[in-house]
Amino acid sequence: MKLKLTTLALGALMAAGPAMADLVFPSLSYRTGPYAANGIPFADGYADYFTLLNERDGGIGGVKAKVIECETGYNTEKGVECYESTKGEGSLLYQPLSTGITYQLIPKVTADGIPMHSMGYGRTSAKNGSVFNYIFNYPANYWDGASVAIKYLLSENGDSLEGKKIALVYHNSAYGKEPIRTLEELAKKHGYELILLPVDHPGQEQKSQWLQVRRDRPDYVIMWGWGVMNSVAIQEAVNIRFPMDHFIGIWWSGSENDVIPAGEGADGYKALTFHNVGSDYPLFGDLKTYVLDAGKAAGAGDQVGTALYNRGLYAAMLAAEAAKTAQELSGTKDITPAQMRDGMEALEITEAKMAELGLPNFGPEFKVSCENHGGDGLGAIVQWDAKAKQWNMITDYISPDEDVLQPLIAEDSEAYAKENNITPGCN
């Protein structure tokens, strides 16, 4: 009896002592539905990076990372349900991988004090951290993407787009419409004509749009697509013999899934990116040893090194680095969502840090601050090599035209602040 009581007392003491909870990173993934082919590699990359940290380093600062997956099917209502069902789990950071879900979660995460990272998607003006305290969209946003595409085209045309025609083929949704204002402003500045060609969801039938491209003969086509819309657009462009090297997709129109169905015809197609391509980095060796070969990969392991797997991995890396920063700032390993937010706001990514992580030259350097939750907006161009079935980065990182973008961001974020009675400010 005495022994039992002692054991119970010891057990109670141990339970009452300080115990490290896991660092929880929910993954609002979509492994089913029309966009599953894109959602799967991203979710795999995101989960595998945290698994690597757990297996190789014992977690982040000695605390294990825990990824809770919730299936959204890229459906906004389900995304909100996922948020509601996981926010009580000690969730530190949300990455919904959907502009629609991001828009719905902005007021919710702000009220609940949980940061959200919409990397390369979501509400562009969230870059203004003095209004959107809990929303981050570093290292680049849609308006950066539009500006980088135009700057690249300027560089291809002797710094002048005067008299050129540029068509925007876009998903007829909040996501697809994001770059229109920026491209219109840039058209005023650079003198090109902008032709708008919306495509309805899901984008399986685009004959009208591409017949118009054939009739109007734009010099360049920029695409803001997602899912099946991308592959159909590329196939239609091949069909009408539009020159592939004059066709540039946003980073969400630049995965292997988009180009492979068009076969050899897609050779030369270009896309934007905010991180590098392939798997020729030291970190991928560790990934093989600790995750893939150990049978701990989130998926089948066949997506490693693809554009969207790398993006998921990059998103996880940025989340882990922000968590490390938060641990350093707060002096505690067991961080809260508020401390995670502070960590994100103080995040600085340098080439030295990337090299140390085993990802040299994988992404741009940038620094986050209260006024700037979006980083420097650097983007580069990748081009598809159909024979080798691989993307090649063909430019250095290009900075966006902040003279045009900053006033737009200020205007949109101030309007949001007014609508929602937010007093902008940085502590």
């Binding site: 599953a36 082919a37 399986q204 009208s208 899934n257 492979i260 169905p261």
Partner: protein, 328 residues
């Protein structure tokens, strides 16, 4: 000839071709509805399943490989052989026949004489089940479907129209192939239903279940037959659409394109599906060409339904549908 007129002619031709592709999907719905009164919600998913099965067989993919690997370990994904397209199509047809038999045996047989809405609900369940099975069996990654169909600009039409009008029309070779195949399919289906014993039995069941049963026609056999035919049509539609976009989940959404065609052409008429498809195809493309720019574009999806609704108001049974007269 004014440029706008030439462009309108080109759009009309492309609309006709797109309409044929819509009609291919609608045909599957018509076949099942005509014979059994079931609106088969799973028709779009059947196209996805058929196309994914075809690619899987062609590439020697091991079905359920993810599941097998997860349970037993290992990294089995492919058998290591490639099956020629024609043989793979035949094998896929057999899989679709097996699917038809399973649907009949496990679902429909137990729901004979139930209300149409119950049968419709069953097909909704079937659609989601089949979607999951398709993912589990062949994976959800986008697959390239290459059965050797030509794609891209038809040079001959381009040249002829250029010589005649000074502007070469764009017609996709794949659309021409789809038109020929759809034509052959309709003729084959009509010959089958007119001149074969099974076809006549199918028509008898379509006219009156009870009377057909009383003369010894097996309802089970006819339903397996009709689901098999719908599976075959789904395979043809899956090949045509899959060649355009790759085989991926979105193939199942092509059913949305068939609904206005059915509303317009009628749920019980094979020629109705074809004519309905052509009217929807031309109507939506011309509307987009003429008024799309003024309305902000992307009008095709909703205009197809508006067009179908307009027909519905004046002819509720559709252009070729059977007029239902109920006496009280």
């Amino acid at each position: 000839m004014p440029d706008q007129l030439l462009f309108a002619m080109e759009v009309t031709l492309n609309g006709l071709m797109a309409g044929v592709l819509y009609a291919l999907v609608a045909l599957g719905f018509v076949l099942i509805f005509k014979a059994s009164g079931i609106f088969n919600y799973a028709q779009g998913v059947m196209a996805l399943f058929a196309a994914a099965t075809l690619v899987g067989i062609m590439e020697g993919q091991v079905p359920f490989s993810h599941l097998i690997n997860a349970i037993f370990g290992g990294e089995v994904t492919h058998f290591g052989w490639h099956v020629p397209a024609l043989a793979a199509i035949v094998l896929t047809v057999l899989v679709m026949v097996l699917l038809a038999w399973l649907v009949q045996k496990l679902v429909m047989q137990h729901l004979v004489n139930q209300e149409p809405i119950i049968l419709f609900m069953a097909t909704i369940g079937l659609a989601y089940f089949l979607e999951g099975v398709s993912d589990l069996m062949w994976g959800s990654e986008i697959k390239t479907l290459n059965v050797g169909l030509p794609q891209g600009l038809n040079e001959t039409i381009d040249q002829i129209t250029y010589d005649a009008f000074g502007y070469g029309f764009f017609i996709d070779n794949l659309d021409i192939v789809a038109t020929v195949i759809a034509g052959l399919l309709v003729v084959a289906l009509m010959l089958f239903s007119q001149y074969t014993k099974q076809g006549r039995a199918l028509r008898a069941v379509a006219d009156d279940h009870q009377a057909a049963l009383s003369v010894g026609i097996s309802l089970n056999f006819i339903w397996v037959l009709v689901w098999s035919l719908a599976g075959f049509v789904a395979l043809v539609a899956g090949i045509m659409w899959g060649a355009k976009s790759g085989v991926q989940f979105s193939l199942s959404l092509i059913a949305l394109k068939a609904l206005p065609v059915l509303m317009l052409g009628g749920f019980t008429s094979i020629p109705g599906a074809i004519v309905g498809g052509l009217i929807i195809g031309v109507g939506e493309k011309l509307f987009e060409f003429l008024l799309g720019p003024a309305l902000g574009g992307a009008t095709e999806n909703w205009f197809a339904y508006v067009l179908a609704l307009l027909f519905l108001v004046f002819r509720p049974q559709g252009l070729f549908g059977e007029k239902i007269i109920e006496r009280v």
